[in-house]
């Protein structure tokens, strides 16, 4: 047989085979997963009302339907065995879409372990084990009192870590030269820095001198024209459980959106942690208040 005849015959055979192999037309864009739910939220020992945002993992991208999720959520104190069932609430958010938020009145203790379970009637479940942070004992660790450079630190003993630091300045203000009473006000700033001491204890650094300008601006006051006193400073960090940490050190939505990046839910996705807003009130001595640029009453 001539070479080219053999080659052609072989080609025809291959092509027929390929034709038969290529008959499959179906394709699924979604590979089903066994994971059931995605949960977002945290247990808060300082409040009674607890809540958690829940998504069912769906095979299509559709807005949440305004109907019950059909799943039972239970939060159990592991040590005592006490279980509380949370109820499903359908929330209409400002963006016009519905969402499921499970809520309950449940007392959550400090430094206790809880099992959060979400289960369908068919027995499909997602769960997460959460340990709440212990109660903290904050203490003022140092005050730097230098003219126009006042700063102080607060040690948050027993806190696993701090997120989302707020500082509330309790001030009084009036026009300079006025003999009238001071008007009271509270200015809340996202300011300060979180450091870690050598023993691992979180420390917050607050700089009233640096914040003075912002406080004046927010109260529509002018240095020189108005006078402002500083009554107290409330340092209010969010104390979070130890596992509530971003793998990159910062909470960037573009990074954390990837499923599994910040996730602790078994047989599901999402993150469920524990935390609370703590508070420590600092009264600076008069000379520190004056050095920071405030007026003494």
């Amino acid at each position: 047989m001539q070479a080219h005849t053999l080659i052609l015959s072989t080609l025809v055979a291959i092509l027929v085979s390929l034709f038969l192999v290529g008959c499959e037309e179906n394709v699924s864009p979604v590979v089903p997963t066994e994971r059931v739910f995605t949960m977002w939220g945290f247990l808060d020992p300082t409040v009674t009302g607890q809540k958690a945002r829940v998504f069912r993992i769906e095979p299509v991208l559709e807005p949440t339907r305004p109907e019950p999720l059909g799943a039972t959520m239970a939060v159990t104190d592991v040590a005592s065995g006490q279980m509380t069932v949370w109820r499903d609430s359908l929330i209409l958010f400002p963006d016009g879409f519905y969402g499921h938020v499970y809520q309950a009145s449940q007392e959550i203790g400090f430094d206790r372990e809880y099992l959060v379970e979400l289960e369908t009637p068919e027995g499909l479940a997602s769960s997460v084990l959460v340990r709440t942070p212990p109660e903290t004992s904050p203490e003022l660790s140092e005050i730097q009192n230098v003219r126009f450079n006042v700063k102080f630190r607060v040690r948050w003993n027993r806190a696993p870590q701090l997120l989302d630091l707020k500082v509330r300045y309790h001030v009084g203000f009036r026009s300079r030269g006025s003999s009238g009473a001071f008007t009271s006000g509270v200015v809340t700033l996202q300011t300060g820095a979180v450091e870690t001491a050598s023993d691992g204890t979180p420390v917050t650094l607050i700089e009233p001198t640096a914040d003075l300008g912002t406080i004046l601006q927010m109260l529509n006051l002018q240095a020189g024209r108005d006078e402002m006193t500083l009554d107290s400073i409330t340092v209010a960090p969010f104390v979070a459980s130890d596992e509530w940490r971003s793998p990159t050190g910062s909470f960037d939505a573009e990074v954390l959106v990837q499923p599994g990046t910040l996730s602790n839910v078994e047989n599901g996705f999402g993150f469920f942690g524990a935390g609370f807003e703590d508070a420590f009130v600092v009264h600076l001595p008069d000379d520190a208040v004056e050095n920071a640029g405030f007026t003494i009453r």
Binding site: L15, G22, N26, V30, I57, L61, S246, E254, V255, Q258
Partner: protein, 757 residues
């Protein structure tokens, strides 16, 4: 600068300098233009030889794309000048050559008189599916006519997609991927004019109907020094010149498209001709009634050319091309709106070719203007638009010296690019930019022992306003004249003007043209091609070509689990390895060609989040256009009743982003109230491009019958079926809704073409 590059540059320059000194020696040269005696059309590919009185070959040459030949380093004497070409009677003339004479002899060939249906024996063809040399394939209108298409006149794009290594992701969108490269990396020229988006929104049509084409050189890689500014490929389309002797024309009508051509002389001396072509789609009124699907596409093109022979040794042409396209390529998802795209190309140019009497050279000067306007979703919140226009001027000189030829040239280009993307690429700011590019190239070519043709080149170009310059070495080696033809091509390429597009799936069409954004490096590529071909007999030819391509500093969209139409751009590198297999069999009235392309394309992405997401700094993946296997089988049978042709095409599945499901995301960065924070919907993607779509295959058939009418006309009837076994070939898969959009189902087509002269 790289030492190897310096050495290479020295080799190129010394070779060119050697040629100069050789040229000074006292030898003669015979040059000229070969034309068709009946139409005045210049003829590329004509064999022109100089024979001694004994009949021995003294010199030989083949006319180039302008129909110009050159026989140099001739000693004085009396010779026979002979020209032969398939379909024409041989031409001969006795010539006396004096020492150091620069002679111009123009040749007009008379066509062979043949009856309809008579088989024309093919001689030594330079075209054909197997004739690929170091990545270069020459395509003629007769090749295009082999492939069934819903246009009775034929269109270049249908032949291109039958070539191995050229991937189309579907029958719409107008995007061709050449050997792993993306569409914006292809340079498409029509008579030297840049055409930025030449393929129509419906994949059976392009700006190049067969009726206007003289020849096309397709460089799938390894292109020579005269071409640059692109990473992947060059398609150099040359149009016909129009009949200088008599008027000719045609009118064609079919359910997809209608059109007409008209050509003829503009003077009585046979020196000036015009050629026009106009086509307009009628698919919405025609073909859409033949299928159950909507076909909301509208497109058309116009081409006009005036060609003149001002003197015996010069040619002048003025060309104009316009195209328009509109259609909904992408029907929209739950989160992305429908993608209604529209674009317009405009290109105009002047080209002057001259054979100087005093120099053994050919010079070509051209200046042209090209413009693309493209819009997507006009009038909506997701509106995007892009404009690019360029003025290109070139001077290309070819020196002839016996077995050595030196090509060199200079060019200058000014560009304006502007895009409004509505925040599509969040980390890139695009503004209106004006750029100037200047450059030069030199490429000596000579024959060495063993039958090797060596062509080394160097291209240098610079963007002064951006302070960037590039030096690009090129190499082509071809060994011909023996049973086995071996070829090799290599080169380095850069592309400063890039196309940015959101290719999270291969169906994306809208491309924003811009200079490389601030903060990103200029994309570059390296090519290596090795080829072999053999003509076993008059009936059977075989060719194999292996290639590798390295791509650097590409822009790709970042992955995100957010189901949104905006994204960031990230850098990636790519590697392409592949092989093309081509077979051509011709016996009597039956012919078949088979092409098989095997390709592996991999991108390496360096997105910042990768270490966190996948535990690795880089991620290797298959891009959306990586088609592993591609097969085309095209056959033709000519009978006295009609000509029948078939095309079966097969492609393995393309990669896509598969999902595990959909849920929601809330950024828990502290004391977040989940009763007021709505969060976002989220896609739980599997590994990037980890899924594979189904295979694609389709059989098209066509029958054509031509007959004379009234002595001066010819009527051609065509009937056929696209996708005759109604295969549901997937075009787009919506991961969000699981809806699929299929390509064109079974659709009959028919056409009528009336030609007159």
């Amino acid at each position: 600068m790289d030492k190897r590059l310096i050495c290479f540059a020295l080799v190129v320059l010394l070779s060119s300098a050697r040629f100069y000194f050789d040229t000074v020696a006292q030898v003669a040269i015979v040059r000229g233009t070969v034309t068709d005696a009946t139409s005045g059309e210049t003829l590329p590919g004509v064999n022109v030889v100089l024979l001694s009185d004994d009949g021995d070959l003294v010199k030989g040459a083949v006319t180039d794309e302008s129909g110009v030949y050159a026989l140099s380093r001739i000693s004085r004497g009396v010779f026979t000048l002979r020209a032969t070409f398939v379909g024409f009677d041989a031409w001969e003339q006795r010539v006396m050559i004096a020492m150091d004479e620069r002679t111009i002899i123009n040749i007009a060939l008379e066509p062979v008189q043949s009856e309809l249906g008579e088989v024309v024996v093919e001689g030594d063809r330079r075209d054909g599916i197997v004739k690929v040399t170091a990545g270069q394939t020459t395509v003629l209108p007769t090749d295009i006519d082999l492939v069934p298409s819903p246009d009775v006149s034929g269109d270049l794009v249908n032949y291109l997609t039958a070539m191995p290594g050229i991937v189309s992701v579907g029958d719409r969108g107008g995007q061709l991927f050449v050997r792993g490269g993306e569409p914006w990396q292809n340079l498409v020229l029509l008579d030297g004019m840049w055409v930025y988006q030449p393929f129509h929104v419906l994949g059976f049509f392009s700006a190049f109907p067969s009726d206007i084409i003289s020849s096309v050189d397709v460089y799938a890689g390894g292109f020579p020094s005269q071409f640059g500014g692109r990473l992947s490929s060059v398609m150099d389309v040359r149009s016909r010149n129009g009949n200088k002797r008599s008027y000719e024309g045609s009118a064609a009508i079919a359910p997809f498209i209608t059109g007409f051509t008209l050509e003829g002389p503009l003077d009585t001396n046979g020196k000036v001709s015009f050629l026009t072509s106009y086509r307009e789609s009628v698919i919405e009124r025609g073909a859409s009634h033949l299928v159950s699907d909507d076909l909301p596409y509208s497109f058309g093109d116009f081409y006009g050319k005036i060609h003149a022979l001002p003197s015996g040794n010069s040619q002048l042409s003025i060309s104009l091309l316009t195209t328009h396209d509109e259609g909904a390529v992408f029907e929209g998802t739950a989160v992305e709106p429908a993608e209604q795209v529209e674009w317009k190309n405009t290109a105009a140019g002047i080209r002057y070719t001259v054979l100087p009497n005093v120099l053994p050279a050919m010079a070509q000067f051209s200046i042209n203007v090209s413009r693309l306007e493209s819009d997507q979703s006009v009038g909506t919140a997701n509106s995007r638009s892009t404009e690019i226009e360029s003025v290109n001027s070139n001077a290309d000189i070819t020196y002839f010296n016996g077995d050595t030829t030196v090509r060199w040239g200079i060019f200058a280009r000014s560009l304006r690019a502007e895009s409004r993307l509505g925040g599509l690429f969040q980390n890139v700011e695009l503004r209106e930019e004006f750029l100037t590019e200047v450059g030069a190239y030199v490429e000596p070519e000579w024959e060495v022992r063993g039958g090797w043709d060596v062509r080394v080149g160097l291209r240098a170009h610079s963007f002064p306003s951006k302070s960037v310059s590039f030096l690009e070495p090129r190499l082509r080696l071809v060994r011909t004249g023996l049973v086995n033809e071996i070829s090799l091509a290599a080169g380095i390429y850069h592309q400063e003007i890039v196309g940015l597009l959101d290719r999270r799936d291969a169906a994306g069409v809208f491309t924003a043209w811009a200079a490389v954004p601030d903060g990103f490096s200029v994309p570059s590529s390296s090519h290596l091609i090795v080829g072999w071909q053999r003509t076993f007999s008059e009936s059977f030819e075989l060719g194999i070509e292996l290639y590798g391509k390295e791509l650097r500093n590409l822009f790709i969209p970042e992955w995100t689990a957010f189901p949104r139409f905006t994204t960031n751009l990230q850098e990636a590198d790519g590697e392409v390895l592949g092989g093309d297999f081509r077979l051509n069999y011709q016996k009597g009235r039956f012919g078949v060609f088979v092409t098989y392309g095997l390709s592996r394309t991999r991108y390496n992405a360096k997105q910042e989040s990768l270490p966190v997401w996948f535990g690795t700094d880089e991620l290797e993946f298959r891009p959306a256009h990586d088609r592993r296997h591609q097969i085309n089988v095209v056959s033709r049978l000519d009978t006295r009743y009609a000509n029948f042709s078939t095309r079966w095409q097969f492609g393995s599945g393309l990669p896509f982003n598969q999902a595990q499901g959909f849920d929601g995301f809330v950024l828990l960065d502290g004391n977040v109230d989940v009763t007021t924070e709505p969060g976002s919907r989220r896609v739980i993607f599997d590994k990037p491009f980890g899924g594979e779509l189904p295979t694609y295959h389709r059989l098209d058939i066509s029958a054509e019958k031509s007959m004379r009418v009234s002595g001066h006309g010819r009527l051609t009837l065509q009937a056929g079926v696209i996708n005759i076994y109604d295969r549901s070939n997937l075009f787009f898969l919506d991961v969000f809704t699981q809806n699929r959009v299929d390509q064109i189902p079974i659709i009959p087509n028919f056409g009528l073409k009336l030609e007159f002269h």
